[in-house]
């Protein structure tokens, strides 16, 4: 499903984070991050359920045995 970053979504996440943004900044932020969010959404992220952020270290450290 494509990712459409809207000013309304930006305003909602900022409010949830309790971080005030500059007046009228929602549209600028949505425009700035839109291409990155869309590119990321297009990646096939089908990963085994067991993968977690620290799995990176396992892959990285395997090189030490190479």
């Amino acid at each position: 499903m494509p990712d459409q970053v809207t000013p309304e979504r930006v305003a909602a996440i900022a409010a949830a984070a309790r971080v005030p943004i500059q007046p009228g900044a929602e549209a600028r932020i949505a425009q700035a991050v839109g291409p990155t969010a869309a590119r990321f959404a297009a990646i096939d992220l089908a990963m085994p359920l067991e993968i977690e952020p620290s799995s990176f270290v396992v892959v990285q450290r395997a090189e030490l045995d190479r």
Partner: protein
Amino acid sequence: MTDPAMLSLKDAASAIRRRKVSSLELTKALLKRIEAWQPVINAFVRVEADEAIRAARAADRALARGSAKGPLHGVPLAHKDMYYVKGKPAGCGSKVREGFIAPATSTAIAKLEAAGALRLGALHMAEFAYGPTGHNTYLGNACNPWDKSCITGGSSSGSGAAVAARLTPAALGSDTGGSIRLPAHFCGVTGYKPTNGRVSRANALPLSFTLDSVGPLAQTAEDCALIAAAITGPDPLDPTTAGAPAWDARAAKRSPKGLTIGVPTSFYVDDLEADVAAALEAALAEFRKLGARIVKVDLPDQTAVAAAALIVLAVEATACHAPWLRTRAADYGPQVRNRLENGLAYSAVQYLEALRWRGPSLAAHLEAIGKVDVIVAPASRAVAPTIAATDVGAGAGAEAAIQAITRFMRPVNYLGLPALVVPAGQSQQGLPIGLQLIGRPFGDEILMALGAAFQDVTDHHRRIPTLP
């Protein structure tokens, strides 16, 4: 004799050890150059001349007693103003940190001091290390010593400019999205971004705890290896370094014969300026002559990797700064404030998916490169643009402009790979061109070996800008 300020780190340390040059002579020579260059390039935020002179005299006395502290005994260095030294200011390029006095010394600085290095002062940087050009609206811009109308690259702007102008033999920078490699490329010096987890980040300013890395800019790969030997290794204050291998000085001096070098078939070679493309071809010819085997590699889609990197960086930077964004937002420069606000647009699930994908993404990268030891790629598609042309400030196109400059940087940070930028040519206008040697995880020493061999047969790293 040669001006001591021109000596590489290795030669300066050797000259002091053999008493060919005193620490005091070297320190005075560097201070003299700083005095001349600082009004032109604004590379320092603080020069600690009196303390440096006192420390140099003490280092000379210690050497006379036969008690050299370590391999960098008596060599004065300056570092990016984000490495904390207990009791000293660390402004981090921002009004927000005005008046901040560091409560502890960063591990990297402590290790350099244990190796005998002294301190000349603190170097300029982009605000909170969050800017790839070197612009700083609060403290003024650092300028490129090759052409003061051009950017230094950032965020380690002062580190790149100061090493290029021979104001310090080496300097620590930091690299979260290219902040060591870009200034190395734009200023014509050698810059080393270590494998994530090899160098402690303790008591250095954080930007993104996943992507940050600490490393040096210096004249040569051998100089970077000297710094790496001092600062790599486990540190209880930074758990990501647990189990990190010690520096292997022998491996860093191996012959490049038999190494396999990969050249990407896309992304890093797309839309290059002619001078950059020519520098890449010339470097590959040198590597062939040195006995390396050159092969083409099809890397996984780097735009996807870069997108994941951008999400991780944006969210972690915003999380670090959230308390100040709630209370002191007006004290940030407009571009950094905007970029920090951008991090609010991503959801928690997006961020964690970007983090989860890091391991599989590294596995895919390693599968794609097979037995390749080092990938050689440009650091940027172009030489240093002007400060005016990149003065995008907080405008609507700022994020796109920033991403264009950092295009070849972000995948390396996301994948946690080591990289070494070496000067490899110059444009027709005389601006430096750097190439990045990208290694396998923990293959840092091979990068140094290849970089040193390249610098043995080329002289791009010996070019020095002249004072305008």
